[in-house]
């Protein structure tokens, strides 16, 4: 083995070790979360702490799903997140297409205003939005949250989608117009299929944004049966005098599931350039 080859091999081993160390560091809390949710309670607070549980139990999941209001929180969160994602992406794609392809007065200004709306800190709009939502009688309702989540998700979605639509070659839409497609046919049959990876990515990010939303859910919702996960779980955990770590970790695992599932479903679209090869030069 020559010196150069040894050096290269050494470099590769170093790199691999570093990568695995980073992965370990990042995933440790997640692994800890899963393990804790499966440990018997007695083991969780023991000292010294055990990494691998001596026996596995699903009792915390059972407690979480059947002895607490977690199920309702979960359903509420999914409803709010999915609805606002759907609305944001639907209007976002139409708005992005309009901003990119139509020429109208102050087009650039309008695009920047959208970004500006997104950059506003959520807390600045808290009171005005509360007044608006209350005045239409939706405070305390999940629909109120859908409205406020969409308020933040739509500019975000619009801004992301605008970049995806702008990257599409306009010749293809011109060809479709000549082939006989109207504006809506172009949008639904030509633009959306090409922008699908971007749309899915936007949907995932929008979903996570709404799913994680804490402040508005905390302020707008008082009744337990309308609460979403972020403030709801906090209340769940704080209800008991001492914190039930196993229950909390089980909740964290279940909360993570939809996100994991979402990534698993759309990951083959991430980074896959559907448009590659259609236009050269």
């Amino acid at each position: 083995m020559t010196g150069a080859r040894m050096l290269r091999l050494g470099g590769r081993i170093c790199r691999d070790v570093l990568v695995w160390a980073a992965i370990g560091l990042i995933s440790f809390p997640l692994v800890w979360m899963v393990l804790t949710s499966l440990k018997p309670r007695i083991e969780t607070n023991g000292y010294p702490p055990s990494f691998l549980p001596s026996s596995l139990t699903l009792v915390h999941y059972y407690d979480l799903l059947f002895r607490t209001g977690f199920g309702q929180l979960f359903v509420n969160s999914l409803f709010v997140s999915l609805t606002s994602t759907l609305v944001a992406v639907l209007f976002g794609i139409a708005g992005a297409y309009g901003l990119v392809r139509f020429r109208f007065a102050a087009r650039g200004l309008m695009a920047r205003l959208v970004l500006f709306a997104y950059l506003l800190p959520a807390v600045v709009l808290l009171v005005p939005l509360y007044v608006i939502v209350a005045s239409i009688g939706l405070n305390g309702s999940l629909w109120g949250l859908v409205i406020t989540d969409t308020t933040f998700a739509l500019p975000f979605a619009l801004w992301l989608l605008r970049a995806f639509v702008a990257a599409l070659p306009p010749d293809i839409e011109a060809a479709a117009a000549i082939d006989g497609a109207g504006r809506f046919a172009i949008l639904f049959e030509i633009v959306i299929p090409q922008a699908l990876p971007g749309i899915l990515a936007t949907a995932v990010f929008t979903f996570i944004m709404a799913y994680n939303e804490y402040l508005y859910a905390l302020v707008f919702i008082n009744a337990d049966q309308s609460m979403t996960l972020p403030p709801g779980v906090l209340r769940l955990v704080k209800e008991s005098y001492d914190i039930d770590w196993n229950l909390m970790m089980a909740a964290a695992v279940v909360i993570t599931m939809p996100i994991l599932l979402l990534f698993a479903l759309v990951q083959r679209h991430f980074g896959q350039g559907l448009g590659a090869g259609s236009v050269k030069g």
Binding site: A174, I178, L274, S278, V279
Partner: protein, 355 residues
């Protein structure tokens, strides 16, 4: 088949004029090429014919019917783009079917039409592939097929061959010529490649800066270029130009011992003389020059020489034995001098060439 009239077309964005007061009549069944350098407005003209852009002023007429406010879909045209513009998320078959679907052609008929076009263009084996999996030449074929499939009145081509390699380009050029002969449809073809323009067209419209410089059959554009720009743009290798003046004896080149008798001799008019490389020859008592470059293509030899401050390129046959540094004397073939007004660039005289 349709005749197209561009009637005093103007296209501008604010103060930026792209096409200025353009009039062209394209006859039914004609193959008209819009030829010019990039930025001359040729693609904009094509997009206005297609209805993708609308003119700022003037009318676009198909068979005398004003089309300005007619949607692209309703003009019964087909367009082939430089980028091919195939639908990347569809298979080749779906690409070909798309214009038929939009016109509600029944499925059975659609299938027959796809098979027919696929047969003509020999893309049958590709029908179920995604268009993004095809090579450039195959994509170009599919784009042609998508244009052909619904028998449009007018075919528009926007530099369709410029992304292909040289061999494929020559091949596709021949295919488009055959397509025109077989279908006999009106075709408007945009290119900056004068070989394409010369070989394919019924007539060529040469454009520069949004203005029409010359409109005529290829042979006429080549033999009697209307302006100095046309003369320099059409023909490879490029025409030689010599600044000079018309004097009573004929044309006298600046700073060179070259005087050529011409019919239109006048007094002291500043002109630019143009002569094509194949119209220069070796002559005993010609203009002395020194060879600076010899390029042999196998069938001919291009000899670059310098005479005074001027550079002249000669096109000689393959038996030429000249080498760099040789001293030669150059003559002009009688009657092969083109004269252009120095200020305006306009051609002087109506003859093919000046005797």
């Amino acid at each position: 088949m349709a005749a197209i009239s561009l009637d005093h077309i103007r296209k501008s964005y604010g103060a930026h004029v792209i096409v200025d007061n353009l009039c062209i009549d394209v006859q039914a069944g004609e193959f008209l090429t819009l030829l010019g350098p990039s930025g001359c407005g040729k693609s904009t003209i094509l997009r206005m014919i297609a209805g993708l852009d609308s003119p700022s002023a003037g009318g676009i007429l198909f068979d005398g019917r004003r089309m300005n406010d007619v949607l692209p879909a309703d003009r019964n045209i087909a367009m082939v783009f430089q980028s091919y513009a195939l639908y990347p998320h569809m298979t080749v078959r779906q690409n070909l079917e798309y214009p038929l679907r939009k016109r509600r052609v029944p499925a059975q008929q659609r299938a027959a039409m796809v098979d027919n076009v696929a047969g003509i263009l020999q893309i049958g084996p590709l029908l179920d592939r995604r268009s993004s999996q095809l090579s450039g030449g195959q994509q170009q074929r599919v784009a042609l097929g998508r244009a052909m499939i619904r028998s449009p009145d007018v075919f528009l081509f926007d530099e369709p061959l410029s992304n292909l390699d040289a061999t494929l380009r020559a091949h596709m050029r021949a295919e488009i010529i055959q397509l025109h002969q077989r279908l006999g449809k009106t075709m408007v073809y945009v290119t900056h490649d004068q070989i394409e323009a010369m070989t394919m067209s019924t007539r060529i419209a040469v454009l520069e800066g949004g203005k029409l410089l010359q409109l005529g059959p290829p042979a006429e554009v080549y033999a009697r270029p209307a302006t100095r720009f046309v003369a320099s743009f059409v023909g490879t290798p490029r025409m030689n130009f010599l600044p000079g003046a018309l004097v009573p004896g004929g044309f006298r080149a600046d700073g060179l011992a070259l005087e050529i008798a011409v019919a239109h001799a006048a007094d002291a008019v500043r002109v630019t003389a143009g002569v094509r490389p194949q119209d220069l020859l070796l002559a005993k008592d010609g203009l002395p020059a020194r060879v600076t470059l010899v390029e042999r293509t196998g069938q001919e030899t291009l000899v670059t020489t310098s005479a005074g401050a001027q550079t002249l390129v000669l096109r000689l046959d393959e038996s030429c034995k000249l080498r760099i540094g040789d001293e030669i004397a150059i003559g002009v073939r009688p009657g092969k001098l083109h004269l252009f007004d120095e200020a305006s660039g306009e051609r002087l005289g109506n003859d093919d060439c000046h005797p």
